[in-house]
Symmetry: D3
Subunit: 239 residues, 6 copies
C-alpha cells in the first residue's frame, strides 16, 4: 500500500500552467501533487562561444531549489558560493533531455535557457522539471514564430519524464517523497512523444535489482509519459 | 501622470497570502502589483555561534531573485559563485528591519531565518520583502505558541516598508519599475505599527533633493505603511 | 556628556592631507580624530564594458580595512576570499556619492577608481571616505587638466559626509566608535556644497526614532558638512 | 566495423595492477586499453559528521583527470577553483557503486576514500574507476584484516562496470574514445558479482533508443562484467 | 651608476617608526626610501588547531598591497576573491623568517599574527616587511611582559632582511624598483642579529649567475643587515 | 648515517622515462627513488594575453599532487577550491627555472605548459619536477621540429635541480622524506648544463646556517646536477 493510497500505476494530480511568468518568453508552473516547479525559457540572440559561427543554436538548463522548498531549510547555494553536485547533475540531465528533441540548425544561432526553480519539493523535482521545461520551451518557440523569427518550429517531438521505483516490493510510478526516501530502487525515465528513450537512470538504493524489475518500471514509465505528453500538448494549445 | 495612472498616494493592489509554503513554519506570498515575493520563516533550535549562551535568539534574512523574475534574464547567483553587493545590502536591510520589532530574550536561544525569494520583479522588491517577511515571522511565532514553545509573543510591533520617490517632479508612493528606473529620488522607509522610523534610505538618482522633498516623501510613506500594517494584521489573523 | 567631552555639534579634529600617495593621480589621507583613511584616485583610459561607446565616463569606489585597523584583528578579506556585505555596501555608497557630483559626459570615456583604505578605525570610516575621496578625485581631475586631457572640470560640486546620531537622548554629530557602538540611532548624511541631499541612511539601533529626531540630526549634519566643504576646498587649493 | 577492429562483444585488454601506490592502504592501477586510472583507497578512523555515533562507516570516492590525460590539455580543476559538473557526477556514481556492496555496520565507524585519478583517457574512465576502485577497496579491507581491525570482510560482493553503446547500428561493449564520441547511444552499467544491477545510465546522444536496444546492451554488459569480476578476484588474490 | 646615485653598498634611508598603529599590541611603520609598509602584531590567546595542547605558540604573517601602492593600480585581492601566488609566497617567507628567532615553548599557547600592508611600493617590500615585522613582534612581546603574561622574552635574536642584486654588472644592495625591474640577478637575504642565515632566495632574471657573484651579494647583505639590526634595536628601545 | 644508507654525495636512483604520456607533445615520467612525477608538455598556438603581438612565446608550469601520493591522504585541491600557497610557490619556481633556458623569440608566439603531477611523494618533488620537466619540454620542441614548426631549437641549455641539506650535521645531497622532515637546513638548487645558477632557495628549519655550510651544499649540488644533466641528455636522445 502506497503512503498516498495511490494505485501502483497512478500518478499524482499533474497541473501544467503555461504563461505563469509574465517577463519570460515562455514559462510553465508545473505541479505533480505537492512538488511545484516554476520553469521559464529565456531567449538570447547569441550562442555559447564554442558554437559560434556554426549556424546552430543551443538549449541549456539551470536548476535550483528555494531554501525552504524542503522539510528542513537547506543552505542557499548562492550564499554557499557554489552549486552542489546534485544540482549540477540535475541541470545537466534537464538540458540533455530538452536538446534531444530540438533541431539546433533550425533554431539558428540563438540560445534558450530553461530555468527550473523548485518552489516546493515532494519528490520527483527533476522529472517535473523536464516535463514543465518542455512546455516553457514550446511557448518560447511559439513566441518566436509569432514574431516571424522562425518559420517552422525546431521542436521535433515532445519530451517528458517520470520517476518510477520499487516500493515495498511493488513497482510503482511517480514516487513522492515518502516513497522516494524508502524505495529499494529508483529509476528516472525520459522519453519522447513517440516513445523513444532519451535517458534512463536507475539506481539500487538497497539491494541490486534485476532486469525483470527494470522492465516492469519501464512499462509503468511508458504509460505515465504518454499521459504527460497529452497534458503537455493541452497546456501548449497543440492539437 | 504616473505610467500606471495611479494617484500620487495610491499604492498598487497589495495581496498578502499567508501559509503559501506548506513545509515552512511560517510563510507569506506577497504581491505589490506585479512584484511577487515568497517569504518563508524557518525555525532552528540553535543560535549563531557568537550569541551562544547569552539567553538570546536571532532573526536573520536572506534574499534572492529567480533568474527570470526580471525583463532580462540575470545570471543565477549560485552559478556565479557569489551574492552580489545589491543582494547582500538588501538582505541586511530586511534582517535589521525585522529584528527591530523582536524581543530577542523572549525568543530564547533560537534562530528564525526569513527567506525572501523574488518570483517576479516590478520594483519595490525589498520593501515587499520586509512587509511580507513580517507576516511569515508572525506565522512562525504563532506556530511556536501553538506548540507551547513560547507563552508570549516576542514580536513587539508590526514592521512594514514602502518605497516613495519623486517622479517627474511629484512625490509619489510605491514606485513600480517604470517609475523606479526614471525617478529623480528614491527613498525606502521602514516603519513600525506605531509610526516609529526603523530605517530610512534616500538616494538622489539625478539631482540632489531637499529636506522639504524628503518630508513630503515621508508623509506619503506614513500613510502607506499604516495601510500595510492593517493588511498584515488581517493576513495574520490579528485584529 | 559625550565620552570625548565634545559638544553635541562639535566634530573631531579633521585633517585632509592631499597628495599623500606618490604613485596615484590623486590622493588624500583623511583623519577624523583617530579614524584614518587613505583615499587614492586612479585614472584609466577605458570605461566599464557596459558603458562602451556612449561618450561617458565612470567613477567607482572600493573600500577596505587593514586587518588591525580595529580593536580586534579582523580576518583579511583577501584571505577569506570575499568582501563582506558591509564592505560592499560601503563601497557602493561611496561610489554613488561621488558620481552624484560628476558630469560623466564632460569626463569622457575614462574611469576613475577611488580606493578608500582604512588605516585606523574609530567610527565614521564611510563618511570620512566620501569626504577624503572627493579631495582625491579633485586632485586627479586637476592632474588631468594640467596635462590638457580636460579643458574644464567635470566636477560640478563638492560632496561630503558625516554621521550623526542620538547618544543618550541627545542628537550629536560625528560619532566616534565609543558613541557609535551604543547610540540609539545612527544616520549618515551625504550632501553637496550647495546643501542638496545626495544620500541619507538612518537606522534605529534600539528604539525606532521620530521624524523630529531625524530633523534634528539633519540640522547638525548640514552645519558639519558646510565645515567639511570648506576644509575640502582648502586642501584642494580651491578658492 | 569498430575502429579498433574488435568484435562487438570484445573488451579492450584489461590489466588490474594491485598495490601500485606504496603509501596507500589499498590501490590498483587499472588499464582498459589506453585508458589508465590510478585508484587508491585511504582509511580514516572517523566518519563524516552526519554519521557520527551511529555505529556505521562510510565509503566515498573522488575523481580527477590529469590536465594532459586527454588529446587537448584541459584546465586543471584546482586552478579553475572548482570541480566541473561532470567530475562531480562521476565521483558520485563511483561512490554509490562501491557503497552498494559494503556492509557499513560491519565496517564500523571509519571512512574509506577511494581516489580515482585518470592518468590517460581513452573512453570509459568512470567504468574503469569503479572496476579498479573495488580492487583498491578490497586491498584496504585486507590490510585492515591483517592488522586485526576487522575480523570479517564488510565487502558483500564484487562490483564492476562497463560502458556499452550502439556504434554504427551495432551494439558493442567497452566503448573507446573513437566510438564514444560518435556512438548514437551510450549506456553505463554497474553490476555485482552475482549479476544484480546497481546502476544503469543510458543516454541517447543522437536519436532516442528503444527498449530492445537497451536489452541488447545489457546482454553485452552482463558478459563483460562477469569477465571483469574474474579479473578483479585474480588481482585481489581471491579465488 | 645606480639610478638613485647611491653607492653600491648604500641602502636607502631607513626609518622604523614603532607604535604607529594605536589599536595593535605591536606595530612599526617601516620606510626604505619610497617603500612604506605598515606592520602590526596581533596577539590571540589561542593557537592554530593543529598545535593545540602541545604547550607551544605560533607566529604567522599576512601580506597585502594597497591597490594603488604601485605605479599602475592593481586589482584588489579581496575583490578578485583570492590572494595571488606572489602574495602567498611572500607571507610564507615573512612567517618563516620571524618564527626562526622565536622560542615557541616560551611563548606559550598563543598566536601572534604579523600583518604587513604595503602603503607604497618601490622595491623590496618583502624585506622591509621582515625588518619592520620584527619590531612589531618585539613591541607585542614587550606589551605582554608589561602585563605579566611573560616573564622572559621568547625572542631569541633579531631577524632582518635585504635584497641585493647585480645591476649593470655591479653587485648592489637594497634594490629599488628602477633597479629591481632591470637587474640580472635578484637575491633576498634574511639573517639574524648574530649573522646566521635564515633564508636565501636568489633568482637569475636574465643570465644565470655564478657562485662568486652570490658571495659578493652575500657580503653586501651581511653589512646591510648589521645596520638594520642596529636600527631595529634603537626603534625597539633595546640597548 | 643517512636513513637510506646512502653516502652524503649519493643521489637516489634516478630514472627519466620520456614519452610516457601518449597524448602529450612531450612527456617524462621521472623517478628519484620513491618520488615519482609525471611531467607533460602541452603546446598551444597562442600566448598569454599580456604577451600578444610581441613576437615572443611563453613557458609556464603547473604542479599538483595526487591526494594519496603522501603518507596521509591530503585534501584534493580541486575539491578545496584553491591551490595552496605551497603549490603556487612550487609551480612558479618550475616555470621560472624552465624559462631561464628558453629563447622566447625563437619559440615564437606559442605557449608550452609543463604539468608536473606527483604520483608518489618521498621528498624532492619540486626538484624532480624541474629535472623531468626539462625532458618533457625538450621532447615537445623535438616534436615541433619534426613537423617543421621550428628550424632551430629555442632551448639554450639544460636545466636541472636538486635539494641538498644538512642532516645530523653532515651536508648531504638529494634529501628523501625521512631526511627532509628532520634536516636542519634545506636548500634547493637549480642550475644549467654549463653550471650557472638559475635559482637558489635555502631555508634554516632549525638553527640558522653559515655561509660555509651553504658553500658545502652548493658543491654537492653542482656534482649532482652534472649527473642529472647527463641523464637528461640520454633520455632526450641528445649526444
Amino acid at each position: 500500500m502506497r503512503p498516498s493510497g495511490r494505485a501502483p500505476n497512478e500518478m499524482r494530480p499533474v497541473i501544467l500552467e503555461p504563461g505563469y511568468a509574465k517577463k519570460a518568453e515562455g514559462s510553465c508552473f508545473v505541479r505533480f501533487g505537492d512538488t511545484h516547479v516554476l520553469c521559464t525559457a529565456s531567449l538570447e540572440e547569441r550562442t555559447p562561444p564554442w558554437l559560434k559561427g556554426q549556424g546552430k543554436g543551443w538549449v541549456t538548463a539551470e536548476y535550483g531549489m528555494l531554501p525552504r522548498s524542503t522539510n528542513e531549510r537547506m543552505r542557499r547555494e548562492a550564499s554557499a558560493g557554489k552549486q552542489s553536485g546534485r544540482t549540477q547533475e540535475i541541470q545537466r540531465l534537464i538540458g540533455r533531455s530538452l536538446r534531444a528533441v530540438v533541431d539546433m540548425k533550425a533554431l539558428g544561432e540563438r540560445q534558450i535557457t530553461v530555468d527550473c526553480d523548485v518552489i516546493q519539493a515532494d519528490g520527483g523535482t527533476r522529472t517535473a522539471s523536464v516535463t514543465g521545461g518542455w512546455v516553457a520551451l514550446q511557448q518560447c518557440v511559439a513566441w518566436m514564430m509569432e514574431r516571424g523569427m522562425l518559420t517552422a518550429s525546431p521542436i521535433k517531438d515532445n519530451v517528458a519524464a517520470i520517476s518510477c521505483g520499487i516500493y515495498e516490493g511493488t513497482p510503482v510510478c511517480d514516487l513522492d517523497y515518502a516513497e522516494d526516501s524508502t524505495a529499494d530502487t529508483d529509476a528516472n525515465f525520459v522519453m519522447t512523444g513517440t516513445g523513444g528513450i532519451v535517458e534512463i537512470q536507475g539506481t539500487a538504493e538497497g539491494e541490486p535489482f534485476s532486469q525483470d524489475e527494470l522492465s516492469a518500471l519501464m512499462g509503468l514509465a511508458k504509460d505515465s509519459i504518454a499521459d504527460l505528453v497529452r497534458l503537455q500538448n493541452e497546456a501548449a494549445g497543440l492539437k
